[in-house]
Symmetry: C2
Subunit: 139 residues, 2 copies
């Protein structure tokens, strides 16, 4: 069971930006900090911008910065927004489902309930909580 | 967030066998029933046999059959056994982790807790529950 790297990188990017909310950061420095693909990160940053969690400023002295208030964002809500889909198994998506027992299968109901337990637990915590133990962006 | 198809097929195979516990079934009929790869299913069946949940009988009249008592199997335990790993994000696995903030990052603790919420909720249900609404293997 895993989250996509897209979501993983989205969480890490917001944590990075939350650790230096007053500063302009760049995709380059974040990708180098984590040792992850810059191209991949560009797409993640675009999505975070679409969601209104980061703002971008072009030109000299520009960069990306966390939007004020985003530190209160609940992590379960964030994961739900970043994951391309929360289809734990294929029958969660009626458009692509090929399983012919989904009509009488209880399993999907249990999986829905369990997925909600996962996001509910994540929603006990905010982005601010995630970086509250210290986060050294110089490391 | 999703489970591997390996786990998905493992769950479906056990549900199929639990619906006809007195009969011998075959990989061929299960793969045709669900419209899934026979080669993939062979590996799933091998794993279920290793785990002691199904037994195989070779030769004429042979096949695979659920082991008595498996219907009481809790679904969270089953998922934990079938998933190649429960590494929700890469830092869950110290051997492959490349994230350099894992030392001070709270996120992984929240993800561990949330994953446990997921499996705990699944553990409220057994394999018998999953097929209790009827399961027409002729469909």
């Amino acid at each position: 069971m895993h989250l996509t790297s897209f979501t993983d990188y989205g969480l890490r990017t917001l944590m990075y930006l939350a650790a230096c909310p007053e500063e302009m950061s760049s995709v380059k420095e974040i990708s180098e900090h984590y040792g992850i693909s810059r191209n991949h990160l560009v797409k993640v940053v675009h999505r975070l911008s679409q969601l209104g969690y980061i703002k971008t400023l072009k030109g000299k002295g520009g960069g990306i910065q966390i939007v004020n208030g985003t530190e209160k964002l609940r992590l379960g809500d964030l994961i739900t927004q970043l994951e391309p889909n929360m289809t734990v198994v294929e029958c969660f998506n009626p458009e692509t489902n090929t399983c012919n027992i989904s009509g009488t299968c209880n399993l999907k109901h249990y999986l829905f309930e369990s997925t909600k337990s996962f996001t509910d637990t994540m929603n006990k915590y905010t982005l601010a909580d995630a970086v509250s133990s210290g986060f050294d962006i110089e490391s």
